[in-house]
């Protein structure tokens, strides 16, 4: 028997939310298959089966579990499994937070209504009474969101639906008139709770814009040199991304303008000795910014290797919280969507972020003639509380110069 525990994904991680189990008790799983998904305040992570076996989850979906807490058991055979389910019935015990809240006299807030979670096999959690009421009134439980523990549909939800009508009306029966009320209807197609990673983004973005003075400067650089650089490195059998080159250039520029690499801490400005550069990515409908350590000390190819590794782990939900912390500067590249310029939002406590646009041929005037040239858009947002317009502009100019002539990086 193997205990399935919450892994410690980073030095600072103490607990995680158990988002969902991918299997039900008694299911046979293969080594490496995803058993459950957990979520810290920074990342979500898939816990895989350490061996073949029969899974028995004990911790509830939606519960908060401590690091190393046993959330399930993997047994080698049916006999062992039967033994385990006897010893460890599935948890239905009060969660620790709830006990704390009750003891401190505070009333825990009611669980927010969430769309009823269909567990493995499409099972919808609902109380017996809710099912009885649904049958009696001909309601479809899959259209009703549950406010009970773990999203269970309970009497209150049924009463609400019966009073208001279903939140997601089914197909209009043929022949029924399309009324004026139908034309005016405004109904949520989906109601998504702001929680987990979305809550972190939600709070961070608001905090960023409400607690700093952000200014964005735009410029355009000739990209011929970095296009050529990328081609040359590619010839040497190194697939290098523009992001790796731009990160190296930006890090070199930060070395010349150290005060851009800074944070506000109360009444103090910390100018950081190290450079740790985040790269904004999209994962599972959420912004995530893994950090490359010390790009100023690394070669372009080393940076490229780090970025590829972070992209892979972001895609596989295997980032640890340590991959996301202690950044000092961020690059956000929207060139893939043909964006030229934008106004990126600083990630507190950082003080600047470089927005990178697409590389595209544009007409430019050279020697009184219009010629085609690869151009790249650059947008630098910085915190005007600690970085004035002129030094911010000078930093962006350095980035532009280095893009146009990468040799400047080593000059």
């Amino acid at each position: 028997m193997i205990e399935i525990t919450i892994p410690k994904l980073g030095l600072t991680m103490e607990s995680a939310k158990l988002v969902r189990w991918e299997f039900s008790s008694g299911d046979e799983v293969k080594e490496g298959e995803i058993l459950l998904v957990i979520e810290t305040d920074k990342v979500s992570f898939e816990v895989t089966a350490p061996a073949d076996g029969i899974i028995h989850p004990v911790a509830l979906e939606g519960s908060t579990c401590e690091v190393e807490e046993t959330v399930g058991y993997l047994s080698g055979d049916r006999e062992e499994y039967e033994q385990i389910i006897k010893e460890h019935p599935p948890a239905a015990i009060e969660t620790p937070q709830k006990v704390e809240a009750a003891e401190s006299g505070a009333v825990p807030p009611p669980t927010a209504a969430v769309p009823s979670p269909a567990g493995p096999g499409g099972r919808i959690k609902s109380s017996p009474l809710a099912r009885f009421m649904a049958a009696e009134h001909g309601l479809d439980l899959t259209t009703i969101s549950g406010s009970g523990p773990g999203g269970r549909i309970v009497k209150a939800d049924m009463v609400r639906v019966l009073e208001e009508g279903p939140a997601f009306p089914g197909k209009r029966a043929a022949g029924l008139p399309y009324t004026a009320a139908d034309a005016m209807a405004k109904e949520p197609l989906e109601s998504i709770p702001i929680q987990g990673v979305r809550r972190v983004i939600f709070d961070n973005m608001y905090q960023s814009l409400s607690q700093s003075a952000q200014l964005t400067l735009h410029t355009e650089a000739c990209a011929e040199s970095i296009v050529a650089l990328r081609e040359r490195l590619r010839e040497k059998d190194q697939g290098i991304s523009y992001n790796a080159i731009l990160m190296k250039i930006t890090a070199a520029a930060l070395r010349l303008h150290p005060k851009i690499n800074a944070s506000v801490d109360g009444d103090t400005i910390h100018v950081w000795r190290q450079i740790h550069m985040g790269l904004a990515m999209e994962a599972n409908d959420a912004l995530i910014v893994p950090v490359v350590r010390n790009p100023d000390l690394k070669t372009i190819s080393e940076i490229n290797h780090d970025i590829v590794d972070l992209i892979n782990r972001t895609r596989d939900n295997k980032l640890s919280p340590d991959d996301l912390t202690n950044g000092t500067f961020t690059i956000s590249n929207l060139g893939f969507a043909d964006i030229d310029f934008f106004t990126p939002i600083i990630r507190p406590p950082e003080s600047a972020i470089l927005g990178v646009g697409r590389i595209v041929q544009k007409p430019v005037v050279k020697n009184e003639a219009i010629v085609p040239e690869q151009r790249i858009g650059l947008s630098l947002t910085f915190d005007h509380r600690i970085i004035d317009g002129a030094p911010g502009a000078r930093f962006l100019k350095t980035v532009k110069d280095m893009i146009e002539d990468p040799v400047l990086m080593i000059s």
Partner: protein, 326 residues
């Protein structure tokens, strides 16, 4: 008619005096009955009022119950005072194998009109061997009726019924409730076995309880009422026969159930109630039937530890909130 305020002890003594006056075959047998009016003063005045019908015995529960059983077989109506419910163990064969089964074994030719009166429960720092709630053992023994009253009026009405029963009745009284006072009707009345009582009406959740936990449940309900949670409290009063009609009516109204007893949780009577509700009222349930009982350990002597082990008002409040997801 005006009610008088009496304690459970006074209500018991008054009921027994009335019954002993009415029926000369009733007598009380046990330890320390004349010298101390019973260990808790529960038979105050009876030995003066009914000389010769309050019988002191040596310290042998085996003998006391055996003597009571023999007397009952001859047509007498004994009330056997067990001193502490914990002492059931030494009379277990007399109770479980003889008292509970003789009427059946003799094909109904004999009756056993005997009451075994047993003070139970903890909360007095009386330690593990004098603090138990053992009703679960006896509901699991067919042939016995089990009474677990809380308030003085119920004690009086139920003991009067119990001594008139032709089958053996185990009458538990919680030690912490002896001094508990409450209104008791002036006029004569009986309370039938198998009739529970709604001690507080409510609409959000049904709290099913008995004995001392009735009072803790009522206190919890008052506090929960302040938070807008409307609790109904059912005092079962007798576990066998069980007033399941009362439970069903309430559960159909509230759709939520919390069962509270002082006996330890595992194997406690709460499990039986929960199972029966699950079997018969499944479609009325809006949340899992939940139980609160003592932790599965011997009752500690230390008051702090004893309070930790036995259910408290806060445990009931938290239990209600858990069921209601509040």
């Amino acid at each position: 008619m005006t009610d008088r305020i009496m304690s459970c002890t006074e209500a018991l003594a008054e009921a027994l005096a009335e019954e002993m006056k009415r029926d000369e075959t009733i007598f009380i047998i046990g330890e320390d009955l004349t010298a101390h009016d019973g260990i808790f003063g529960q038979f105050k005045g009876l030995h003066q009022g009914f000389p010769g019908r309050i019988i002191d015995t040596p310290i042998s529960e085996t003998a006391i119950v055996g003597a009571g059983l023999g007397a009952a077989l001859t047509g007498m109506r004994p009330l056997v005072d067990l001193h502490f419910a914990d002492f059931f163990t030494t009379a277990m064969d007399e109770i479980a194998n003889q008292t509970a089964k003789i009427r059946y074994m003799f094909g109904g030719q004999v009756k056993i009109p005997m009451v075994i009166w047993a003070p139970d429960g903890g909360g007095l720092s009386a330690a593990a061997q004098h603090s138990q709630s053992l009703e679960g053992w006896f509901v699991h023994t067919p042939g016995l009726k089990i009474v677990v009253p809380s308030e003085p009026a119920d004690v009086k009405g139920l003991i009067k019924t119990a001594v008139r029963e032709d089958d053996p009745v185990i009458f538990f009284q919680h030690k912490k409730l002896f001094a508990q006072t409450g209104p008791v009707p002036e006029e004569e009345y009986l309370i039938p076995l198998g009739k529970g009582d709604i001690k507080r009406e409510g609409s959000d959740i049904t709290l099913i309880t008995y004995s001392k936990m009735t009072y803790l449940s009522l206190e919890a309900s008052e506090q929960l009422g302040g938070e807008g949670i409307d609790v109904e409290v059912i005092d079962l009063r007798t576990l066998k026969p069980l007033d399941f009609d009362l439970i069903a009516g309430s559960v159909k109204k509230t759709n939520n159930v919390l069962i509270v007893h002082e006996a330890c949780l595992t194997g406690g009577f709460g499990g039986e109630i929960a199972a029966k509700i699950g079997e018969e009222l499944f479609d009325y349930l809006d949340a899992p039937v939940t139980r609160i009982g003592a932790r599965d350990v011997p009752i500690p002597f230390s008051p702090i530890m004893e309070n930790f082990v036995l259910p408290q008002v806060n445990d009931i409040i938290n239990g209600v909130k858990k069921v209601l997801n509040r």
